[in-house]
Amino acid sequence: DAGVTQSPTHLIKTRGQQVTLRCSPKSGHDTVSWYQQALGQGPQFIFQYYEEEERQRGNFPDRFSGHQFPNYSSELNVNALLLGDSALYLCASSLGGADRDDEQYFGPGTRLTVT
């Protein structure tokens, strides 16, 4: 049973650049949520994609955008990178049609470093 996979594992970018991170959900899941985890902090919710649309967004600027494909995989795009965007980016998958989608399965994350 394939779990949540993310690519790449690590990434180094320069301030002002743009980055795309990728996520494939757990087999059977149709919903993807993205989180940012800064060093020493808990994960912070960025947004969730269900049926190829963003249906919930956290307190993140418009520089953070996403996309979900028909096969349920997802991308997170960050434009005009800032030093403060350096973090571990986690993808979580769940069943969007369930009564509750708090039972989320997380991938190992992508470590983004902005220099």
Binding site: T31, G42, F45, Q56, D102
Partner: protein
């Protein structure tokens, strides 16, 4: 404004003893409460949860307690094992139209010594 706080950054426990991890929250809108465990280089993994209509949920060595009036959540691990050494996050969910938005605490690093 931090809605969820884990005030102990770290906890050290001897193998076989009880580990107690705590979590406080400020907003009454949360109705599901979860604990996640995270090993280095891995994503958080779900451990145990509790609904707001309960005050205790048990799963093997892990028990979660919820005190709604005090807005306090705790995780008890007994007996603790070296393999339990990890970062533990409490995560709160508001249900309704929250759609996957888990609100996490800062985490507590648990170290269980043999």
């Amino acid at each position: 404004d931090q809605q969820v706080k884990q005030n102990s950054p770290s906890l050290s426990v001897q193998e076989g003893r009880i580990s107690i991890l705590n979590c406080d929250y400020t907003n009454s809108m949360f109705d599901y409460f979860l604990w996640y465990k995270k090993y280095p280089a891995e994503g958080p993994t779900f451990l145990i949860s509790i609904s707001s209509i309960k005050d205790k949920n048990e799963d093997g060595r892990f028990t979660v307690f919820l005190n709604k009036s005090a807005k306090h959540l705790s995780l008890h691990i007994v007996p603790s094992q070296p393999g339990d050494s990890a970062v533990y996050f409490c995560a709160l969910y508001a249900g309704g139209t929250s759609y996957g938005k888990l609100t996490f605490g800062q985490g507590t690093i648990l170290t269980v010594h043999p």
